[in-house]
């Protein structure tokens, strides 16, 4: 199928165009259906959920479930809502993302612009970290966190996520800076800028696309992580994902689907927002370096 700009489509082209758009619309529905079900279910009352059609819009929309989830829902045995855990996740994600992004940038800078002997091997070893499954490190990580006195705390989780994220952030920044012109660094050196000045004044201001990519990647991973959260911080410091699990998997009372759905939406909202706000940079960032200029 060729694409004609501004011209008349022939009948066969018109036919295929209709097929194409129909397919796109169908797939869009398929992908949006779960979100739709979550939203309408969270707005229904329990009675309506039990008796009604899954896809039907709510007869009497109400945010009761959202309020309950936020302030009263039982997370395990404590019925104080998920608000505390929601903020726990922020307290974990923001420093974890900031630190791992910054360190990844410094790593990338050193690995490309201040090359030392064995830099490539060093980078290869760091890359290795990207392929280590989470489960393998659980026990040694628990030991280390215990020795550091960080077990069951948010700083402990931050440390875990920084360690794990560093491999990816280093990879991103290293590849981005590889394409960054060396002559700019040379010019800055001649101008009298030292190691960190070159980094702050020249490299970082020109790294926005890759910073956005890294932040989205890291934030999504850290926020959505369940395994580390459940293993290393299941009590008061538990992140949102663990709280969500505890709300949904409660075995003590009636299954409140509307509250579960509201909680799940709370849990998904921050990552969604990050995508929406920074998404256009994400695509741009992934493409950066492919074409000069």
């Amino acid at each position: 199928m060729s694409i004609q700009v501004g011209g008349q489509l022939s009948p066969s082209q018109k036919f295929w165009r209709v097929v194409l758009y129909t397919l796109l619309v169908v797939f869009a529905f398929v992908y949006l259906a779960p979100l739709y079900v979550m939203v309408v279910t969270s707005l229904k009352s329990l009675d309506e959920i039990r008796g009604g059609n899954l896809m039907m819009p709510p007869l009497d929309p109400s945010f009761d479930a959202w309020v309950k989830s936020w302030s009263y829902a039982c997370v395990g045995v404590e019925c104080t809502g998920i608000n505390k855990y929601f903020f726990n996740s922020f307290k974990m994600a923001i420093p974890a993302v900031a630190i791992s992004t910054f360190m990844g940038a410094v790593n990338g800078y050193v690995l490309t612009k201040w090359q030392f002997k064995g830099a490539d091997i060093f980078f290869g070893l760091i890359l290795f970290g990207c392929f280590i499954p989470f489960q393998i490190v659980l026990v040694p990580m628990a030991t280390i966190l215990g020795k550091l006195g960080l077990a069951q705390t948010t700083p402990g989780l931050v440390l875990v996520h920084v360690t794990y994220g560093l491999c990816f952030t280093t990879l991103f920044f290293r590849n981005y800076y590889q394409a960054f012109p060396d002559e700019l660094i040379k010019a800055a050196k001649l101008d009298g800028a030292g190691f960190f000045r070159v980094f702050w004044r020249i490299l970082l201001p020109n790294s926005l696309p890759i910073i956005v990519v890294t932040v989205i990647w890291q934030f999504t991973n850290v926020w959505n992580d369940f395994l580390f959260g459940a293993s290393f911080a299941s009590g008061d410091a538990a992140p949102m994902t663990v709280a969500l699990n505890n709300v949904v998997n409660t075995s003590t009372s009636v299954k409140e689907y509307n509250v579960d759905m509201a909680t799940a939406i709370y849990a998904a909202l921050p990552t969604l927002l990050v995508y929406v706000l920074a998404g256009r940079y994400f695509v741009r960032g992934l493409m950066a370096g492919a074409v000069k200029g």
Partner: protein, 369 residues
């Protein structure tokens, strides 16, 4: 302003020797051009002078002081890069002032220096723009401006004009020469363009494969290239190199060129062949610049002119003058004459050869005799 000495400088990348002992001595205020084909090590040498590449052996001296271990920023040099290397996140003004900012020069002073240079280069209107909003020529000017505000002892130019279109390149070339005359600062300029080298330099260093081939004034390099490589590299079209034999001819010497029909063409050497007597009977290469072979009317008035009849293979009018490919003996040579010269393709015509401009090379060593 400063003098620059490069003493037996060697550069190795691993086992590969990129520079094999370079000696260059540039006086204060000199416009030194490093020229050579790609990969000859000229940019590496420039980077070593700048301090951006380490020196494996030998010494680089600025103003009589060895600077091998001196940090680039403390060498008091400024460099213009081939890609211009303007900081994309800063305005032109900030770009130019960055070096002074790093040196903690107060803002009013920085602004004054930037304004002065901007006026000199006529880029005042661009100061608030970012590099992305500039044309190639404007970027080039800003890159020069950034070097100029520093008021360094030595300017280093790394192929600064190679990204410009042909017309702009010629304009900027003139501008750089004007700037040099005005400022009098020592300049080291790297290029692979031999015309740039000839027009700009007070002295040229011709390099090949990490070896300095010749270091002399442009005229000296043009008239008396030290070896076959320099003869072929400098000048366009290049010097004609004709296989020949030195022979005794009465009291003096003559040079014999084999022709297609196994006769020999004799050119008398009236006093030009000093030092050639040792080569009597041996093969040499006779080097003649295209403009040393002309039609009779436009032959040089002085010197040792000899007339030879040649067949004209091809004529190539370039506008200002005409290039003609002739058969001199059995060898094709290029000659250059006025565009009005009465020379036609396929005809036998008499040509004047200025033998006092001739140079000879040893066929074995390819060095000038």
């Amino acid at each position: 302003m400063a003098s620059l000495q490069v003493l037996n400088v060697i550069k190795k990348f691993g086992d590969v020797e990129v520079l094999k002992g370079i000696d260059i001595d540039a006086e204060d205020g000199e416009f030194l051009v490093l020229v050579g084909p790609s990969g000859c090590g000229k940019s590496t040498l420039l980077n070593m002078i700048a301090g951006l590449d380490s020196i494996t052996g030998g010494e680089v001296m600025i103003d009589g002081k060895v600077v091998n271990a001196v940090h680039p920023k403390d060498r008091d040099i400024a460099m213009v890069f081939q890609s211009y290397a303007l900081y994309p996140n800063m305005t032109v003004e900030k770009n130019m002032a960055f070096g002074m900012e790093m040196r903690k020069i107060p803002k009013p002073e920085r602004d004054k220096a930037v304004m002065k240079v901007a006026k000199l280069l006529q880029i005042e209107g661009l100061l608030k723009r970012k590099p992305g909003q500039l044309s190639g020529g404007q970027r080039q000017r800003v890159a020069m401006g950034r070097a100029l505000v520093r008021d360094p002892k030595i300017f280093l130019f790394d192929e600064p004009l190679s990204n410009l279109d042909a017309k702009l390149r010629v304009e900027m070339r003139t501008e750089i020469k004007k700037l040099h005359r005005r400022l009098g600062t020592t300049i080291v300029y790297v290029t692979h363009d031999q015309i740039e080298a000839m027009t700009l330099a007070t002295r040229i260093a011709v390099m090949k494969d990490g070896i300095l081939q010749q270091f002399a004034t442009p005229q000296e390099i043009y008239d008396r290239p030290s070896n076959v490589f320099v003869a072929g590299f400098m000048g366009s079209p290049p010097m004609n190199l004709i296989p020949a034999k030195i022979a005794k001819d009465g009291d003096g010497l003559s040079v014999e060129i084999a022709t297609a029909d196994e006769r020999t063409l004799r050119l008398k050497l009236n006093g030009t062949g000093k030092g050639l007597s040792a080569h009597v009977g041996s093969d040499v290469l006779l080097g003649l610049r295209p403009e040393a072979i002309t039609d009779l009317e436009s032959s040089d008035s002085g010197g040792d002119i000899q007339e030879v009849e040649c067949s004209v293979e091809v004529t190539e009018p370039t506008g200002p003058d005409m290039l003609a490919v002739l058969l001199l003996g059995g060898i094709e040579v290029v000659s250059r004459m006025r565009s009005s010269a009465n020379v036609h393709m396929g005809e036998m015509t008499k040509f004047a050869i200025n033998m006092s401009k001739a140079v000879f090379f040893d066929t074995e060593t390819e060095e000038r005799i």
